[in-house]
Symmetry: C2
Subunit: 217 residues, 2 copies
């Protein structure tokens, strides 16, 4: 049936410190080289054959480790892929500082679509896809990917409010959903392309509003 192992048990505790760990327990330490090799093999295979064709046994073979070792470090395929994905993708969405918050957002959204149009975007899509049948992966995606980005985004919105570029009574989550959900929707459904023009249209519509669109063009 479904996997029951937890994401936040031995994993987080022992894995978060990937440097020298000061545990008091006896016994042989986990080999950080094996750990890294597994993550790198996972990233490589993800880009080459995609999430669905990736198997734990394949990762083990490419990383030169026993598959037992992988199961000691990660409870399942989804959590392994999540770690590999975050290590490679997390630092790719910085907001610029152009002087205008709306412009900052617009430019950052163009960075986002660059990533979403790359092999990493395919991984994002498959992770969201697999989240639909894997509650722990879904939780990991929300807290370790989305929430991190939301925190950054809300800081930008706060700056915009302080500068009177954005009304102070706005619901940040509603605004951010309106801005970013269309990007992910096109990533997932593929009914239309993710272009910079699309970002411009989106930001123009949301800032100007439907009622005034014909006045402003």
């Amino acid at each position: 049936m479904s996997r029951k192992s937890s994401f936040n048990q031995e994993i987080i505790i022992k894995e978060d410190k990937s440097g020298p760990v000061d545990t008091k327990t006896p016994g042989r330490k986990r080999c950080p080289v094996a750990h890294q090799n597994i993550l790198q093999a996972t990233s490589k295979l993800l880009n080459e054959i995609g999430f669905s064709n990736l198997t734990i046994e394949g990762v083990a073979a490419h990383a030169g480790v026993g598959k037992t070792t992988i199961y000691r470090h990660w409870p399942n395929k989804a959590s392994l892929v999540m770690d590999a994905f975050l290590a490679e993708t997390a630092p790719q969405f910085p907001y610029p500082d152009t002087g205008s918050v709306i412009r900052d957002i617009r430019e950052q959204m163009k960075l986002v679509i660059k990533v979403l149009n790359s092999p990493n975007g395919k991984t994002v899509a498959t992770l969201i896809g697999a989240s639909q049948t894997d509650k722990e992966l879904a939780e990991a995606f929300r807290t370790r990917f989305l929430a991190v980005r939301r925190t950054e985004s809300k800081a930008i919105l706060k700056k915009g409010i302080e500068r009177n570029e954005i009304p102070s009574n706005i619901d940040a989550d509603v605004l951010l959903d309106t801005l970013y959900a269309p990007l992910y929707f096109r990533l997932l459904i593929k009914h239309a392309p993710l272009t910079e023009i699309f970002v411009d249209q989106l930001v123009n519509l949301i800032t100007t509003g439907l009622n005034r669109t014909n006045l402003s063009t």
Copy 2:
């Protein structure tokens, strides 16, 4: 590896006419009762155990047919589920006629979230999820679900343009993505609830625009 069977081969040809088929070929006809039983068992199991736990063999057992028969009618699990899903969900998104197109859209969006918050919504989510690793299912979802709804939506937008409620130079796909993508995004990510208030906030933001939001409240 992946399944190669086509959605549009013997399937569409023989299945679209679920009534009495006027084929010139000899031999025994497909049993329409078995076909219907399979679809109904699939719908039932979908709501009970979800897409990921649903197996072809389970459907066969519940429908009282051999699994061979299922494989003769559908190339894989995804296409079977798609058919069962469409049969039950397709007619659930009508636009009302309130006199105001914006209000029509707002009310229809509230119907949409009703469905998305029901077990059918879970099925939508898992279908989009499975689409990430199944190209044929993705294509079926686009053409048989999304495109049908887009056609209806564009007719409403056209009415709005004729009534001068909506500017004529608007890009319909951009506007529809901005309106509906946030609903599906919340369905898929579950970072925030899908409420009627959310629909109101969304429509208000998009019609009024960020720049004027503080003027209008």
